[in-house]
């Protein structure tokens, strides 16, 4: 074994991942070669110091200011979420109120045949519903319903809409912009596929789930940016 081959295997020797045969070859060379033995000792010192480095943490220049920036951003997001929730609730309640108000405030004037027909329709409806429910209960298996299998797929209408808009606008972009977009999109898609593969292997892996969510939100962000260009 020459020095080049020996030095190429030094890292694996230090990490203990060489086969017995390789380790024996490298060991014999190191016994004879002072230069390679010196490199091995120096790499070993680097690895040992690196293990210690983990325990030394550094504080940011101004921890308090960093916390204030973080908490301000979070508070702003929370306030925005609350405003949006309040607006949605107001819209929903006003819609409900208007439908209810219209029904309650309407003046109903029905003739006797109309009233009889309405009652008959109501009776038939209730009877049909009862029969259907009883039959469904009989058909249902006595065991507990099984949970659907874990299945993940990317089905996001917003994403589709954004993608369509981007495709429409692509024609107007210059080649550099198109290249930048394609590069960014391929990187994000790679991350999405990677996370999906991981989730297929271990469906309950929290981190892969987060990574997937991250990648999807970055994809949306990217598409939003380029959809307006």
């Amino acid at each position: 074994m020459n020095c080049e081959k020996c030095q190429a295997l030094l890292s694996e020797l230090l990490d203990g991942t060489l086969t017995d045969e390789e380790r024996a070859h490298v060991g014999r060379h190191l016994d004879e070669c002072m230069v390679c033995a010196g490199v091995r000792a120096e790499l070993s010192a680097i690895v040992t110091t690196a293990h210690d480095v983990r325990n030394y943490t550094l504080a940011p220049p101004n921890s308090r200011a960093l916390w204030l920036r973080i908490s301000n951003t979070i508070e702003a997001e929370r306030a925005q979420e609350q405003r949006t929730a309040a607006q949605v609730a107001a819209v929903v309640s006003s819609r409900r109120e208007s439908v209810l108000t219209r029904v309650l405030h309407k003046h109903w004037t029905l003739s006797l045949p109309q009233l009889s027909a309405a009652v008959a329709a109501l009776v038939i409806g209730v009877a049909a519903l009862t029969v259907f429910t009883v039959q469904s209960l009989r058909r249902a298996p006595p065991t507990e319903a099984k949970l659907p299998p874990v299945h993940r797929s990317i089905n996001d209408q917003e994403l589709d809409v954004l993608m369509q808009r981007v495709e429409q606008r692509k024609g107007r972009w210059n080649p550099r912009m198109r290249e930048a977009f394609e590069r960014n999109l391929s990187v994000i898609d790679a991350a999405v596929n990677d996370s999906l593969e991981q989730l297929d292997q271990s469906p309950h892996d929290e981190v892969s789930e987060e990574a997937l969510n991250d990648a999807m939100s970055h994809k949306k962000e990217l598409l939003r940016e380029f959809a307006d260009l």
Binding site: C36, E42, L43, L66, I70, A191
Partner: protein, 207 residues
């Protein structure tokens, strides 16, 4: 003192009095649950416990204080958004560490940072140490010198070295995080170590 054993500095839960809280060691999991329910003091306690580790990781991976601060800020904001999904199946520190690494790698991807990789036709070859080199051994490596040398590594080498030798990840996990093969991860680690050896010799040439 480990992050898990730090006493909570102030009341983090509405239903626990300040005195009771000061006497109680609150676990990261309990704080995470409280933070998920919107308890900001609980989230602040998590920040107090872990911000140094998060910032240090960002700083080592980027080699730039301003970028590291921005990434640490982003990591904690992400933490707040996702803390509800932490189910306590792994240690909180491990979970937060992976979240931070993902954040930094996503930042690198956005910025288009080139992750040095070994291609079939070969790129940056490792310089073989010849007998002509100064035979005196490298001066004793200390943490500060190593940190300085790490900051001078190319981003791809730096990332693999930090993830493997400092943070203790296996090559399989690094390969998954970086989207490369295990062989590439091993090769980049070796190149990073050899490069560091050269940088440390330059910092303090052997007498």
């Amino acid at each position: 003192m480990t992050p898990e054993s730090i006493l909570l500095p102030r009341s983090a839960f509405g239903h626990v009095t300040a005195t009771e809280t000061e006497k109680t060691q609150v676990t990261d999991y309990a704080l995470a649950q409280a933070a998920a329910a919107g308890d900001m003091p609980a989230f602040e306690a998590l920040y107090e416990r872990h911000h140094r580790r998060v910032y240090s990781l960002c700083l080592r991976m980027t080699g730039n204080t301003a970028e590291a601060e921005d990434l640490a800020q982003e990591a904690f904001i992400q933490l707040y958004r996702k803390v509800g999904s932490f189910r306590g199946e792994s240690a909180f520190t491990t979970w937060l560490h992976r979240l931070t690494v993902n954040q930094v790698l996503m930042h690198f991807r956005k910025r288009g940072v080139r992750m040095e990789q070994t291609t079939d036709d070969g790129d940056v070859p490792v310089q073989v140490v010849q007998g002509t080199e100064n035979p005196a051994s490298m001066p004793v490596v200390d943490r500060i010198a190593l940190d300085r040398a790490i900051s001078q590594l190319p981003p791809g080498y730096r990332t693999v070295f930090i993830l493997h030798d400092i943070e203790g990840h296996e090559h399989e996990e690094i390969a998954r995080l970086l989207g490369c093969s295990v062989g590439t991860s091993k090769s980049q680690l070796h190149k990073a170590r050899m490069k560091l050896r050269g940088l440390l010799r330059q910092q303090n040439p052997p007498q």
